[in-house]
Amino acid sequence: MNEIVILSGKGGTGKTSITATFAMLAGSDAVIADCDVDAANMHLLLKPDFGKSYEFYSGELAVIDQDLCTRCGLCKEKCRFNAILFSGRQYLVNPLDCEGCGYCEIVCPVQAITMNSRLSGNLYISETKAGSVMVHARLDIGAENSGKLVAKVKNEAKSLAVAMNKKLILVDGSPGIGCPVISSLAGATYVILVTEPTLSGLHDLQRVYAVIRKFRIKAGCIINKFDLNLTKTIEIKRFLDDAGIFHLADIPYDIHFTQAMVEGKTILEIPSPFKPLFEQIWGTLSEQLNH
């Protein structure tokens, strides 16, 4: 089974639109996983039906029983996250700061603190307009552990792919290089990097590639809006050469892409000159995977 993760380092380079386009080309052959759980947008293009919904619990939250509490203050003293406040003669937990380490529960001399599991978001299993199954999620605001939700989305996608005998998983990753990105890379067979010819695009590409290299995953790169700055496009290609990243394609800067997105569609579904380009990229990608 092939598991392709699409990353960019920098946000807004076109990662989600490109992933959705591949999802349309793959049709029912692929399982789609939207692992950008923090700012999930794929549903706007692939129109999943939110068929099944599950609550996602992750991490714990300290709760203080005010009837048992003797106001000794040990919990506040031990908490390294300043999550316990003394207010109105009560010790209270600020849920946004509590990291669920449970140290306060252990040290409380009267067992007034319990750790409750924490609802962090929702996970959905849907059918998309491309005929594929899609796993996606919505993280609750300010929730911790987005890396864990990413892992959950991916694992769910993987078991569905195995159960339905699908040979491809397409994973839309998050921007950045931190825990959600690292989580989305576990088990990947190929990474597509989507970048743009800006100084920031190149800088962020280099940082995310440094992470990928640690996992020794094969990578290919798409330069989106390549004609915005041809000098930067050449610099990016030089970097790709040096790093041994396969150059998959250049996509021009064109108003059709915005138009498609505004209509909630991929570029394949509106009249545009770009359908052959994407079919060609899709073909190159298949060769890369079988290589």
Binding site: G11, G12, I141, I177, C179, T198, G201
Partner: protein, 291 residues
């Protein structure tokens, strides 16, 4: 003597690539023409602001988080450490205690609850803070080490450093990470006003909605900047109207800005409508945040 509190402006957005960096760097640079200003890049996973500020970065300090280090000579293998760690960062494997430093949140539970003191806390480098001075603008960059998963402790430390060393700079702009989860919460926490940069597309709207919910939950005053105005549709404006969110500026879509940005140049001095937009934003915030 009355103490003058600095004005702390956070620049955030649910979605990456909407123009956070453009707005942060140009806003801080413009502000520095009339008053001493500080720009802090808190997008620690992919910091880009330095590309737009002339001059060389110099190291202020390496940043560390505290993690436990096993002392096998005094350890009795009682197993308490691995039992109390909720993050599976300390695990007993036979007669060996393994510490996974990337997973450690630094709660100190294992270290302080160890009866033999066999897990003393030691500093571990997670990132660094660097600095540039450009006329009246002081620029600080906070940068996470590659492979390090947790951005939050580094963001907290950066805020602490700003409060300690740069409290006398009257206008402070913080470029925040994208998304709505823990790193953003940490980044906007100490600030007086949150500027949400969006674009007039369905992706922009979806992510703006999430960002607005987040900031409302945190009780932050917010204002919206619509970047690339003219592409897409007017759903974002309708939403702002309905939610009674002040739209502080609409920055028209401009290929000139995109090209200046792609080469790492500040744009406001060459694009008068951008400068006007930034002036509107600054004066709105200065008038709405009462000292």
């Amino acid at each position: 003597m009355t103490e003058i509190r600095p004005l702390k402006i956070a620049v955030a957005s649910g979605k990456g690539g909407t123009g956070k960096t453009l707005v942060s760097t140009n806003l801080a640079a413009l502000s520095s023409h009339s008053t001493a200003s500080l720009l802090v890049d808190l997008d620690v996973e992919e910091p880009n602001d330095f590309l737009f500020i002339p001059g060389e970065l110099e190291l202020v300090s390496d940043r560390f988080k505290m993690i436990p280090v096993w002392d096998q000579n005094t350890c009795t293998l009682c197993g308490i450490c691995s039992k109390v760690c909720k993050y599976h960062a300390v695990i007993q494997l036979g007669t060996y205690i393994a510490v996974f430093k990337e997973l450690c949140h630094g709660c100190y539970a294992c270290s302080e609850l160890c009866p033999m003191g066999s897990l003393p806390m030691h500093p571990y480098k997670m990132g660094k803070i660097s600095k540039k001075n450009f006329d009246n603008l002081t620029f600080l960059e906070s940068r996470l080490e590659i492979g390090e998963e947790q951005a939050v402790p580094l963001i907290h430390q950066t805020h602490a450093l700003v409060n300690e060393k740069y409290g006398d700079i009257s206008v402070q702009v913080f470029d925040c990470p994208p998304g709505t989860s823990c790193p953003v919460i940490a980044a906007v926490k100490d600030t007086d006003f949150v500027l949400l940069v969006t674009e007039p597309t369905p992706f922009g709207l979806n992510d703006l909605t999430l960002a607005v919910e987040t900031m409302r939950k945190l009780g932050k005053p917010i204002g919206v900047v619509i970047n690339r105005h003219g592409i897409g549709n007017d759903d974002v404006e309708q939403y702002c109207l309905k939610e009674q969110l002040p739209v502080l500026a609409k920055i028209p879509y401009s290929r000139q800005i995109a090209e200046l940005y792609s080469n790492g140049n500040l744009a406001f001095q060459q694009v008068p409508f951008l400068e006007n937009a930034l002036r509107q934003i600054l004066s709105f915030i200065q008038n709405s945040v009462k000292p």
